[in-house]
Symmetry: C2
Subunit: 335 residues, 2 copies
């Protein structure tokens, strides 16, 4: 694994957080004042949360780290591995932060075009990344904003047939199947990202986790800021993990609404792309985005190759009904 | 200001968060499930909190940004300005994360040695940074771990007589006077950092803010991750700002205890360095650190030039009494 790590990180002596426990704690320049305990720095290693994540995923605690949303985790990966000028490859279209982070971390970015914005040719992809000597592959799976999936078989091929570090961003994986998180034990060049922002419904707290081979993780930990995830965030994450039932009920609801919304969009001629996530990408006519805003409904628009598409998140039953009825209203007004 | 900004950042098109408000919000792939609102992403610009900080500091909202503790803010500064191989200078000794972040962001780090670990020669410092063509100066003021201050006069000299960006990390400034935060209007190369971890006693939530000229801040905002500070963190920060009285009472208490602990250490021959912060650096004999741990008291030890020193945080009256009595006990046992 070491061969992938940046020179600066190989030599880096990370900040050491003292894990000695004493009753009188006068080592960290903390304040004395608060009874809620928030005057103390959070647990640097988020041990309780990591233990709960270990139970949930079946991975070892040494294979997991938490961060402020997937954003911080993507940054940790780039800080650890990406030397200036090295290539990062993702899909086109995909989550735009991959390009932005690559630029910030001095890498070169290339988006591999999905055919018709949805079909993925794995052999062509592998050929490209090998020819380009790509350092990092980042695949949002299911992919945002298309909601399409790359199969486990294809991911296996990419990890095996390339010398890149392959990051699978599974932000939306709970709305489908096909997680490769268990494979981190098999592939040292595989890193998997997860978030509490989507299925767990906790976008407001900014919490995500990263799974990788424990040797890899030792290097990633070197570039992590001390105390990166706050105490309350750790607690809320822990509580959310305990409530399996609520999570599963919610996922089932979203999947069922997704089917309903997708069918309605299909019948309406919007050519929705089959969705594996909690959103749907569909063909839009000029003016629909603004029309919906006027009806107090905000969806997502894009530029470039996707300028004729809109992305809608699956909402409550009432929100979805309203969205679908306004779509029809727009059509009626146009005709 | 532009001349300081990294090439990659000058061209960077940052992630755009849509600030349109609609009643039905189906644009951000958020979940539908939670009544507490945490399913929504936080306010990307933390507008309410920034407004409150603007009132507190007397600065414009366009001159302020919040982050996950000072750590994220230091990283934002490096991401914006530091090209590979450029120099970052701080003091020796100072907060060790300055060196670590510099390494991660491919810079070269140099610590300017304080005479006897406390006295600062400003002219020598300016000569050095100009000779080295330093890009970033980061000064913890009061300085951690010495608790010493650089005067406003000296900071003015540094900002005026050098072509570096000067970051003043005022994490501990509330325990003394001498803030230069208002000077960001006068000096375009000045950046000031503040935190909620010390005087506000909120280390557990990870919240800090950065003040700079608004043009500078536009570039810094480009490298900030979207939704970087969570909703609850923003709320707790806002509430803390409203409670002036509690804050001031607490600061007065710490200052008064600081005087008491300092005098006791002085009488005991520990040569404590005069403190402007909520901690004191003092001379230690071999074995004292471990002796205190055995008595359930944790203080901070260091390596290198500071191996004969310990740093103690000002605690509650009872904690300080216990610390001082154990120090005496150690002396008695040695004699």
């Amino acid at each position: 694994m070491q061969k992938y790590v940046r020179r600066a990180v190989l030599d880096l002596k990370a900040y050491e957080v003292n894990e000695i426990n004493c009753k009188i704690k006068l080592d960290a320049n903390e304040n004395v004042s608060r009874e809620d305990g928030l005057n103390r720095y959070p647990d640097n290693l988020a041990k309780e949360l990591i233990t709960a994540l270990s139970e949930k995923t079946g991975l070892r605690t040494s294979e997991l780290i938490v961060g402020n949303g997937s954003s911080e985790l993507i940054e940790l990966v780039m800080k650890t591995f990406l030397e200036a000028g090295e290539y990062v490859v993702s899909l086109e279209p995909s989550f735009s932060m991959y390009r932005i982070f690559t630029t910030i971390y001095n890498g070169k970015y290339k988006g591999f075009q999905l055919k018709d914005n949805q079909y993925f040719d794995v052999d062509e992809f592998i050929e490209m990344i090998n020819e380009m000597n790509v350092k990092l592959v980042i695949l949002s799976n299911p992919n945002n904003p298309t909601a399409t999936m790359i199969s486990k078989e294809d991911i296996g091929k990419i990890v095996e047939k390339s010398d890149a570090i392959v990051v699978i961003d599974e932000a939306y994986i709970d709305f489908t199947s096909g997680s490769v998180i268990k494979w981190i034990n098999k592939y040292k060049n595989l890193i998997v990202l997860r978030t509490f922002s989507k299925a767990f419904g906790l976008a407001g707290i900014r919490l995500g986790y990263l799974a990788s081979d424990s040797n890899t993780l030792e290097f990633i930990k070197r570039v992590k800021s001390p105390y990166n995830v706050g105490t309350i965030t750790q607690e809320i994450g822990l509580n959310a993990l305990r409530d399996h039932h609520e999570l599963e009920k919610n996922i089932e609801f979203i999947k069922s609404e997704r089917t309903r919304v997708w069918k309605a969009l299909d019948i309406s001629g919007k050519e929705p792309i089959p969705s594996n996530a909690n959103f749907i990408l569909f063909k839009s006519k000029k003016g629909l985005y603004e029309f919906l805003i006027n009806k107090d409904i905000l969806v997502r628009k894009f530029e470039g190759n996707l300028e004729n598409y809109l992305r809608v998140t699956i909402g409550t039953k009432e929100e979805n009904d309203m969205f679908l009825s306004k779509i029809e209203e727009f059509e009626d007004e146009k005709n």
